[in-house]
């Protein structure tokens, strides 16, 4: 009998609707209005790569040890260096990082012994061409230039 009454008065459906209407309240809105509202990206977020430079003298921190390119599962880092005849050290010449193949696993970052290569909080990596996804040394040091969107 109780069940029948419950069925007739649509108790089960009204119960669900109560939940729906409870969530209607504006304070319960959780959607992020992305381009207007910037998401708070975590500190450890693995986004666009960056080659850090020493803020004091503007020199690169990279010692061209090639460990990142050895650690990379996709083999997408190419480190170009030449031996400095005076200091007998390796000097970084070019650094190419192909983000189109990158899966942002962070293994290169872990492998870097001097904290030169870092995956930053930049997450807007879209570009109009494949070449735009391949970062050279300059892009890596200065950070990515935001794509100008064509509307």
């Amino acid at each position: 009998m109780k069940n029948l009454l419950k069925k007739i008065f649509l108790i089960d459906l009204l119960q669900g609707l109560r939940v729906t209407f409870r969530t209607q309240h504006p304070k319960n809105i959780v959607t992020e209005q992305y381009p207007q509202q910037r998401p708070m990206v975590a500190e450890r977020y693995r986004g666009a790569p960056r080659l850090n430079i020493n803020p004091e003298n503007g020199q690169t921190l990279c010692i061209a040890c090639d460990l990142c390119s050895l650690a990379c599962p996709e083999n997408l880092i190419v480190v170009g260096w030449e031996r400095n005849p005076e200091t007998k050290r390796k000097d970084l010449v070019t650094f190419t990082y192909d983000t189109s193949r990158c899966m942002f696993c962070g293994l290169c970052e872990d492998a870097c012994p001097v904290d030169a290569l870092e995956l930053t909080q930049d997450f807007e990596l879209a570009s109009y061409s494949r070449e735009g996804a391949i970062f050279d040394r300059q892009t890596l040091e200065e950070g990515i230039r935001p794509t100008k969107y064509r509307f």
Binding site: K7, D12, L13, G16, T23, V30, R44, Y45, A71, G106
Partner: protein, 369 residues
Amino acid sequence: MPGTFLDSTELVLNMGPQHPSTHGVLRVIVKLDGERVLGTECVIGYLHRGVEKIAENRTYTMFGPYVDRMDYVAAVSNGLGYCLAVEKLLNAEATPRAQAVRVILTELNRIGSHLLWLGTHALDIGAITPLFYCMREREYTLNIFEKYCGARLTTHAFRIGGLQYETYDGFEKEVLEFCDLFEPKVDEYEELLTGNRIWVERLTSVGILNADDCKAYGVTGPMLRAAGVQWDIRKAMPYSGYDKYDFMVPTRVNGDTYDRYMVRMAEMRQSVRIVRQAVADIPAGPIMAKVPKIIKPPVGEAYVSIEAPKGELGYYIVSDGSTQPYRCRVRPPSFVNLQALDKMARGSLVADLVAVIGTTDIVLGEVDR
């Protein structure tokens, strides 16, 4: 006598690979007699990337990120299974602190995976509301992953021998906050669905798979438990310190779609219970066990299976003593559970086929690998 177009004949229909309720690129060839399903055949492989072959050309450390991309909804579980397998080869064990953090993250991932399943499954059947609510709560787990390891979906959270990252400040607090917030939300989903007459009508006695069939097909996970078999690898072969935690293995008896729904709902509550216990007692100490930097396991083989959200996830790795695996075979739960689709769907209606595909909780990245 020649048939006219009014004669009902058997119709072969392709469902997918672009069908929204196949949850990816699954193609099901369905043989229909009117609305009745006479038989189904799955065509898989649209998302095949050859992950097992990639493993043979990568070092053990390098292969870590690839396992996340199999079951991308439960990437943390995949990472755990792989790390445990390599650790078994190396005869190493993660430190107690690492194990506790691993348990927390894996259980959060189980909640996230079940939430995504619940949302999409309900959406397939016609209840759109739960999807939004499930996504809302799943966001909290993803935020914890993001803060912990820097990625939301393909996390690469664990390394062989322990963890790469120490927990962030306020990790315990945030996880506990999520637990407090999440438990009433499960009641909310149940309020929406469990008693709802449409939901009950659509799910009860649909896609029945009894215990014997489950065992014959090798079906594991919530599908097996819904048929009444109390089999959970966390209890049967405890790994990563699961024997320390007190939790139940929820089971049901009928093995139909509704029971599978109930089992998964109960599992989410149990996961919260495990997370609470694990967070309360994270031991101090190092996060990385003493494993060599270049991982070179001795010649041998290891099979480790864990309880992923979808069922038994196994990693079988053969080492030839070099830095790369000789063979890495994955036993994906989705792939095995999908075999039972024909058994479940045969004789049902087309509309129920969607419910049956949804209830198996497949992720095509894992089926095709």
